[in-house]
Structure formats: C-alpha cells, structure tokens
C-alpha cells in the first residue's frame, strides 16, 4: 500500500519542526515525518496524542504479577504441598521476588511486542520503502496529496521559509 506524497527534505531539526508546525496550521494533511533521531517537540508540532502503549505495559505487568503469584501459591500450597524447612506451604513473603521478576518480564516483553505490532515493524530485506538519507542526515516531511486539493506552491513556500533543501513527489508506503 503506497500513495503519492509531497515530500520536503530539511537539513536540520529546527527546519523540520518549524515547517511541520506551519503546514499543519496552514491546513495541510501531514502523512508523516521521517527523522534520523527522535526530534523532541515533534509530537506537539504534528499534533500527535500520547501513545497508549503505557496501558499495554501496565496491564501486561499486572497479568505477569497475577500469573507469578498464582503459579507459586498453586504449586507450593495446592498441587503438591511439601514441608520445606518447617515453612508454611504458602510462604507468601518468599514469593515476592519471583512475582516481581515476572511482572517486569511480562510488562517488558509485551510492551515491545505491542510496539512491533502497532508500528508494523517486521524483518524486511530491502530498504526501498525508506526515503533517502532519513536515517542519516535528512529530515523529511511527507504531505498527503491525494483526496483533496493540494496546493503545491503554497506547501513549497512554507517549506522554503524553513530552509527546505529538496522537494519531491514520491510514492510513500502507508
């Protein structure tokens, strides 16, 4: 799945930040911004909402905690209770370390899995879908062209005001 986009390349963080904010305020539809590193303040410039992955992490962690406690209590006190050093079958305080570790393990792995799934990160042998130099020193702003009247001159003028170095129409994968 790909669509034709207007792509403006910038050489600096400030350029792309300013241009992104300006095109959004001018009513253009931003497809995405491609940067070599995480540009702080870009979420605000693009008008993104905070990621909901934090909730995934929280619930996965809580699930890990529940699984750990259930496993320990069930195996130690229900499935085969054994007298170990005269300790109670349900030695709850001794179960805290493993419960904690599994909370972290489930929370961490699920969060990363959620990132991979949500951002569709999967092994790809080619880099044909990647805009040139955006993993090196270029910052690219991709604007949606299709579906509405796209004023290329205006977009270019805004970008030029923010020090654009190259503009292009490219097929960008969605």
């Amino acid at each position: 799945m790909s669509a034709r986009m207007f792509v403006a390349y910038f050489g600096s963080e400030d350029g792309i930040l300013g241009a992104t904010r300006a095109v959004r305020e001018a009513g253009f539809e931003i497809h995405d911004v491609y940067t070599p590193y995480a540009v702080h303040g870009m979420d605000e410039a693009m008008g993104q909402r905070p990621s909901r992955i934090t909730w995934v992490c929280f619930f996965a962690g809580a699930f890990g905690l529940a699984v750990a406690l259930a496993l320990q209590i069930w195996t130690s006190a229900v499935d085969w209770p054994l007298n170990v050093g005269g300790k109670p079958h349900n030695s709850f305080p001794a179960f805290i370390p493993v419960a904690f570790e599994l909370t972290v393990l489930f929370g961490g792995l699920t969060t990363v899995a959620a990132l991979f799934l949500r951002s569709r990160l999967k092994p790809r042998m080619s880099n044909a879908h990647v805009l040139p130099r955006v993993t090196d020193d270029r910052f690219a702003l991709a604007l949606v062209v299709e579906g509405h009247a796209f004023d290329a001159d205006r977009a270019e003028a805004i970008c030029a005001a923010h020090g654009v170095v190259e503009t292009d129409f490219v097929e960008v994968s969605k």
Partner: protein, 171 residues
C-alpha cells in the same frame, strides 16, 4: 557428627529443586535423583553434616560391590548425601508392622549406628510416643539440643555427661 534432622531445616529452605524436604515421619530427606548439586544446603548447614560426591566413585570391583548395602542406593557424582536415619530400615519396619496388622512398636526399628554401637549409646524411636524409650530420655533432664539459639529445632539430641552422680550439685 550426624544429620540433626532439624524441624526448621536450613538446608531445605535453600534447595532450589526440592531435593531435600521433610517427611511426615519428621525425617530430613535427601532425594538423590532430584539433587542437582548446588551445595547451598551444605553451606547453610550449621553442623556441616552433608557430604558431596565430588567425583564418580568407582564401584566396579565385584568384591568391592559386595560390601555395598543392597538396600541403599549408590549415589552418583554431583549429588549431596547425608545421614538418612536409615530410612530403608524405617520403611522395612513399618512394612513389617503393617503386614502383621499392628502399629510399629518401640524398638522395632533400629538404625545401623544404634545396632553397631557396643555401648548402646544411641537410641532411636518415636518422639511422639510418650512411652518410647527415646521420649523418656529426652524428658530426663540430661537432654540438650545443638544450635538452640539458631531455632533450627534439631530432632537428634544429646545427653549430657553425668559428673558426680552422688552429689546433689552435679548434673
């Protein structure tokens, strides 16, 4: 020294694989085929009564094999072992009593050390049976337990030496 078969055995708590646990008889059991040999139990044993099989000890000689007790499993390399209070004799005694349809009587079961001690200094029996000889000795006032300050609750206890039995001061 022999294993004290502690009621709150420090060795049991630390074993990761449940290779040493308490039996319903009150024995501290060592399960050889479960033991992976972390030696944590031995480190945590105050009287250091546990012995580790550092190597595979060869018992290939046919003559040598004849001295091995057929009732006791030969421990392989890498496992911890210790006094089992002759668990094989306890099991045999209990089985005999069951076949005869009666409860195990005091003196039915004798451990190997008890049997071979010429002075009869070792007594084995059921501490929960108030009429047993061992229970009477424990209550005799001469009895003491090792490492009482550690609260490990040894089941094997000792009797103090009697000094000046004629005078009232002695004990």
């Amino acid at each position: 020294m022999t294993c004290l078969h502690c009621e709150n055995a420090p060795c049991e708590t630390v074993c990761p694989v449940l290779a040493t646990v308490h039996s319903s008889d009150g024995l501290n059991q060592q399960v050889y085929n479960r033991c992976v040999g972390t030696r944590y139990c031995a480190n945590n044993c105050p009287p250091k009564v546990r012995r580790f099989n550092w190597f595979e000890y060869d018992h290939g000689e046919p003559i040598e094999r004849m001295v091995l007790n057929p009732d006791v499993v030969v421990r392989s390399r890498g496992v911890m072992e210790k006094c089992s209070l002759c668990v094989q004799r306890i099991q045999a005694g209990k089985a005999d009593a069951k076949r005869a349809g009666r409860p195990v009587a005091d003196g039915d079961i004798r451990t190997a050390c008890q049997q071979s001690c010429p002075a009869g200094a070792i007594v084995f029996g059921d501490l929960n049976d108030p009429k047993s000889r061992v229970a009477a000795l424990v209550k005799s006032g001469r009895n003491y337990r090792l490492f009482e300050d550690l609260n490990i609750g040894p089941v094997v206890s000792y009797l103090t030496k009697l000094r000046n039995p004629g005078s009232k001061e002695g004990v």
